[in-house]
Amino acid sequence: MRYIGQKFIQLLIVLFAVTFTVSLALSALPNSKERILAAKSVNPANVEAANAVLDSLHLRDSQIKQYGYFMKDLVTGDWGVTFQGNQSIKTSIWDGLQISLRLMVYAQVIALLLAIPIAIISAYRNGGFFDRTATTTSFGMLSLPSYILAPLFILLFSVRWGWFTSRSENTSLFDDPWQHFKDYFMPTLVLALPLAATYMRLLRADLIATLQGDFITTARAKGLSTSRILLGHALRPSTFSLVTAAALNTGTLVGGSLVVETAFGLNGLGFKTVVGIFGNEFRLVQITVLVLAMIYVFVNFFVDIAYGWIDPRIRAARALT
C-alpha cells in the first residue's frame, strides 16, 4: 500500500509538471501574441478584436491564472477550437487518438508475436545457426529508425510489388477488413520491427539464463517434452524484463507514431501534432502533446503498480529506497 501511495504521489508530481509546462508553453512562445493573432488572422491594430482573441485563450492573465483556466478547460472538456477553420479540437483529437492507439496496439502485439517465438527458438538452440542469424538480424534492426524503414518498405511493397498503397487511409476494421489490413500493414510493421528486435534480445538473454536453472534440469530429468519445458516452465520466469521493456517502449511507440503517421499520411495524433506545428495551431499541438504524454505517463504508472503486484520482491526492494 505504501508503495502504491509513493507511486501515486510521484504520478501527481509528474502530472502537475507536464500540464504546467504544456499550459505555459503558449505564453512562453517567442512573440506569442503576434503569432497567435496572425494565426487567427486578426489584425493586431484592431485592439478590441485582438483582446477578445487573447482573452479567449486567457493570454492576458497571470501565468498562475492561465494554468488554472487551462486545467479547468482540460477537465471540463472545453478544449477550444482550431485557430484556422474553428473546428472543435476535441473531435479532432478523438479521431486522431483512435488511429494512434490502434497503430500502437497493433505494433505492440505484432512485435511480441514476432519476438517471443524467435527468442524461444534462439534460446533453445543457443549458438546455433538460427540463433546467430536472429541475433545478427536483430542487431541490424536496432539500427533501423522508422524513417529509414518507411521509404524502404514503400519502395519494396508499394513501388516494386504494388501490394499496398504508400498513403494509408483510415478504413474501419469492420467496414472492410482487407482494406484495413492493407492500410495498417506497413505502418505497423515499420513500428514493430525495431521493437521486436529489442524484445527478442531481452527475452532470449533471460531465457538462456533461466534454462541453466536447476528446475529445468529437474524437469528434463522427469522426462517432460522440450516444448513443455520451454513454454510451461522456462517462459514465464523469463518474461519479467520483457514486460518492463514492453511498457517502457510505449514512449518509443509514441515517438515512432509521430514519424510513421507522417510517413504514411495516417491522420493520427502524431500527424496532427506535426501538421499543427507547421500550421501554427498552437492550441491543438498543446493538447495533442498532452494527450500523447498522458498515455505514456499512465501506462508507466500502471505497469509500476502491476509490477509490485506481480513480484513482491520488487515491492520490498522499492520500499527500501
Binding site: 509528474v14 514512449g251 518509443t252 515517438g255
Partner: protein
C-alpha cells in the same frame, strides 16, 4: 543498444533498477552469459565488425570535417563558374533532373528519362534539384555528426555533474534531482524534442529558413541528460562505498576532491561508452526531427531531410531517399557495434551491478 530513439533516452524509467538500467546501458544482455562454444563464432565476427566500424566512422568523420574542401562536387551547383563542372547539371538545357547513381545505370528501368544523360553521374545519383546526393550526404554527415556530438557533450557535462552530486551528496538534493529527471522522462523523448523545437525556436516554425542548429542541440541535450544522470548516480553510489574513497575521506580530503579525483576517473570509461551509444540515439533523434522538417533549415542538408525529400519520388528516383538512408543506417550500425565492443571491454555490466 537500441537505435530507436526513445529506448535510451526514455526507457530508463523513473524506477528502473540497475538491472534494467544496464540492459539499456549498451551491453547486449546476452554476451556475458554465452556458453563457450558459441562465443568463439561471435568473437571472430566481432573482430571483423569492429574494424569495419572503426574504419567507417573514421572515414565518415574525415568526410564530414573536410566536406567543403574535399575534391567532390559541392551540393550547390551555383558556385561553379562553368556549369559543366557540376556533374549534375544537364548539358544543354537548364532543366535539373534526377539521375540514378553511376553504378545503377545497368538496369533499363533506372536510366534517366531524358536522352541527354549526363557524362558523369554521381556515386549516389542526384536529387530533383539536380544536386549531387553524395556531396549532400557529406554535408549531411557534418550536420548530423556535429549535432549528435555537441548535444551528447552537453548532456554528458550536465548529466555528470548532476549525477555526481546526486549520488555523492544525496539527501534532499538527490530527491530534487530525481524528481526533475522523472518529469523530463515523463514526456516521450521525441515528443519532447518536437515540442521544444517546434514551440521555442526563435522563428515561427513555418519559416524554417531561419532555424539554426541551436534549438535542435538544446532539445537533444535535454533528452540526453536524464539517462546520463541516472547512470552517473548509480556509478557514484557504487564507488563511494569503496575502500579508496573511505581512505581518502579519512585522510581529510574535501568532498569536492573526492568527487573529482577519486570517483570521477573511475566512472569516465563507463560514461564515455554510454555516451557513444547515446550519440547514435541522438543522431537518430536528429534524423527524426529533420525528417519531420524540424531540424536545421531546408537548403542545409541533413540525412533526415534528404530521406524525407525523396520519399514522394520513390517511384521514379528511389536513390534520393534510399542512398542517404543507407548511409545513415551504416553509420548508426557502426556506432552501435563500437559501443558494444567498448562496453564489453570496460565491463559496463559489472560496473553498474
Amino acid at each position: 543498444m537500441t537505435a530507436d530513439l526513445n529506448a535510451t533516452t526514455a526507457s530508463i524509467s523513473p524506477d528502473t533498477d540497475p538491472e534494467t538500467l544496464d540492459s539499456v546501458a549498451s551491453t547486449p544482455p546476452d554476451q556475458p552469459r554465452m556458453p563457450r562454444g558459441s562465443r568463439r563464432g561471435f568473437r571472430k565476427r566481432g573482430r571483423f565488425t569492429k574494424w569495419f566500424a572503426i574504419i567507417w566512422l573514421v572515414l565518415l568523420t574525415f568526410t564530414a570535417v573536410g566536406a567543403s574542401w574535399l575534391p567532390y562536387v559541392k551540393h550547390d551547383c551555383s558556385q561553379f563558374a562553368n556549369k559543366l563542372d557540376c556533374s549534375t547539371f544537364d548539358k544543354g538545357s537548364p532543366i535539373k533532373l534526377e539521375r540514378p547513381p553511376a553504378w545503377a545505370g545497368f538496369s533499363q528501368s533506372n536510366k534517366p528519362t531524358t536522352p541527354t544523360a549526363p557524362v558523369r553521374a554521381g556515386w549516389f545519383g542526384t536529387d530533383s534539384n539536380g544536386f549531387d546526393i553524395f556531396s549532400r550526404a557529406m554535408f549531411g554527415a557534418r550536420n548530423s555528426l556535429l549535432i549528435g556530438a555537441l548535444s551528447i557533450l552537453f548532456g554528458l557535462i550536465v548529466g555528470s555533474i548532476l549525477g555526481l552530486l546526486a549520488g555523492f551528496i544525496g539527501g534532499k538534493l538527490d530527491r530534487v534531482i530525481d524528481t526533475v529527471m522523472n518529469v523530463l522522462l515523463a514526456f516521450p523523448a521525441l515528443l519532447l524534442a518536437i515540442f521544444i523545437v517546434g514551440f521555442f525556436s526563435n522563428s515561427s516554425a513555418a519559416q524554417a529558413e531561419n532555424r539554426s542548429i541551436g534549438p535542435v542541440i538544446i532539445a537533444l541535450s535535454i533528452l540526453s541528460v536524464p539517462p546520463l544522470t541516472r547512470l552517473m548516480r548509480a556509478n557514484t553510489l557504487v564507488y563511494s562505498q569503496r575502500e579508496f574513497v573511505t581512505a581518502a575521506r579519512s585522510i581529510g580530503a574535501s568532498r569536492f576532491r573526492i568527487m573529482v579525483k577519486e570517483i570521477l576517473p573511475n566512472v569516465v570509461p563507463t560514461m564515455l561508452t554510454f555516451a557513444l551509444t547515446g550519440m547514435a540515439v541522438l543522431i537518430v533523434a536528429e534524423g527524426a526531427l529533420a525528417y519531420l522538417g524540424l531540424s536545421v533549415n531546408s537548403p542545409t542538408p541533413t540525412w533526415g531531410s534528404m530521406i524525407a525529400s525523396g520519399q514522394t519520388k520513390l517511384k521514379d528516383a528511389w536513390w534520393i531517399s534510399i542512398m542517404p538512408a543507407a548511409t545513415m543506417f551504416i553509420t548508426i550500425l557502426c556506432i552501435n557495434l563500437l559501443g558494444d565492443v567498448l562496453s564489453e571491454r570496460f565491463r559496463i555490466r559489472e560496473a553498474i551491478g
